[in-house]
């Protein structure tokens, strides 16, 4: 297991898990907001739809379905 932080809360996840899966494990279902403020979350799971974007270690608009967790990763969803 490795430790990451999602919106400031520490979370233990199995190694090799995607950021999208980790966020889902943490109980969040809103990953970001649309321009109009509507909730958005993963749709395609294969890096095509860009709906699953979150901020990782300060870098905005990272597709969480395309990235595996690393120890100490800081994830922010937009809610």
């Amino acid at each position: 297991m490795i430790e990451i932080r999602v919106n400031g809360k520490t979370l233990k996840v199995p190694e090799g898990v995607s950021v999208a899966a980790a966020i889902a494990l943490s109980g969040h279902d809103r990953f970001r907001r649309s321009v109009a403020g509507q909730p958005r979350g993963p749709l395609c799971g294969i890096g095509v739809c860009f709906e699953c974007r979150v901020t990782v270690d300060g870098e905005p608009h990272v597709r969480s379905c395309q990235l595996l967790c690393w120890p100490g990763m800081e994830v922010c969803t937009d809610d």
């Binding site: 321009v35 974007r53 870098e59 905005p60 608009h61």
Partner: protein, 366 residues
């Protein structure tokens, strides 16, 4: 029924003409083969700015920019109008004297302008590369979203009784009105030709050429850029006659997106984006704002400016074309200057005093 005026073309220039003419109480019909704002207006950036290379360019941009700012209170929020100001950047110390000269000129003409030193520039736009020598800040320049602005002007005209006919192409302009592609005729006392780069198809012998431009838009990064920022060298790119050039020019959008320009090409009519041009344009932007390299771009597209040899629009009566007024050739500043052009057109038709001296923009100057 005979209309007072037929306006050909529903880009921002045609829309502004319809708006001004209906304000003057005239019955207006606007004809557009495609959708409204499908031409340059739907493709451009929405920078409302004063340019000052010569008196004619200054007068038309100054009048228009100030008109836009006056209209801001009436605009719906969908126009995304924002008085963010322009910052012109000196890339090298040798450009500082020119920056100061422009600043002094603007101030002498009661346009608010100030010089930013290296540190003030860095504070105003933290994502610029450090160590740039200085900038010229013009606080009352603004930006808006051009298709929404054109749509709004057109809607105002419709509310005053204008008819907008889409899906109809004009094939010939006559003294009594226009002939349409479907063979029908529409009569009017005056015809205003606001067809941008397509104008030579309707009126032969005009020196209007398409000048292709590329733009790139990024994902949302609120606060990344705060002003419309451009390099002083943009003027060389815009005013030069080189067949191909790029310049650093970025604008913030209300959504937090960053709009990146700009390129200029003569002699290309293929609208497809060219990766070679996009790369050099984005590289130029990265030279000035290194962190642009880390932003993700969503989309790139192109548009065509209607360029005249002196980059001023052609507005007014056309030789041997009774009852026809031309209003085209707005190159890269038609979003700004459409208001002055429309003011001139309506003054010609109504016989009113023109809002500015029409001579520098007269069609017969070429």
């Amino acid at each position: 029924m005979t209309a007072d005026v037929i306006v050909i073309g529903a880009g921002i220039v045609g829309a502004a003409c319809a708006d001004a003419l209906t304000q003057g109480g005239l019955r207006v019909v606007v004809i557009e083969p495609s959708l409204a704002v499908s031409g340059a207006t739907g493709a451009g950036m929405g920078h409302l700015l004063i340019l000052d290379e010569n008196e004619a360019e200054f007068s038309i941009t100054r009048y228009s920019r100030d008109r836009w700012n006056q209209m801001a209170m009436e605009m719906p929020s969908s126009l995304e109008y924002e008085r963010c100001g322009t910052i012109w950047i000196a890339a090298v110390p040798e450009e500082l004297p020119l920056l100061k000269q422009r600043c002094a000129f603007l101030q002498s003409r009661q346009v608010r302008a100030e010089i930013l030193d290296s540190q003030q520039l860095a504070e105003a736009e933290p994502n610029l590369r450090p160590g740039l020598p200085g900038g010229l800040f013009i606080p009352d320049d603004a930006i808006l979203y051009p298709p929404a602005a054109a749509g709004w002007l057109l809607k105002r005209a419709e509310q005053r009784g204008a008819a907008v006919l889409t899906g109809k192409r004009v094939t010939h302009i006559q003294a009594w009105g226009v002939e349409l592609e479907d063979g029908s005729r529409l009569e009017a006392h005056h015809v205003v030709c606001a067809t941008g780069m397509w104008t030579p198809q309707l009126i032969g012998g005009l020196p209007i050429q398409p000048r292709k431009g590329h733009l790139v838009i990024t994902d949302r990064y609120p606060g990344f850029v705060r002003h419309a920022v451009m390099e002083l060298g943009y003027l060389k790119s815009a005013h030069g006659r080189e067949s191909e050039s790029v310049a650093f020019n970025v604008q913030p959008r209300k959504t937090g997106q960053v709009l990146i320009g700009s390129s200029r090409q003569f002699g290309v009519t293929d609208a497809r984006p060219e990766s070679r041009i996009i790369s050099s344009m984005v590289q130029r932007a990265i030279d000035f704002m290194p962190r642009i390299a880390q932003l993700s771009a969503l989309r790139a597209w192109t548009g065509f400016r209607a360029a005249t040899p002196d980059r001023l629009p052609m507005v007014g009566p056309v030789a041997n074309r009774p009852n026809c007024l031309l209003c085209a050739g707005h190159e890269g500043i038609g979003i700004t200057t459409c208001l002055a052009s429309a003011g001139l057109v309506s003054a010609f038709i109504l016989g009113d005093r023109p809002p500015l001296d029409p001579k520098p923009y007269a069609v017969e100057r070429f």
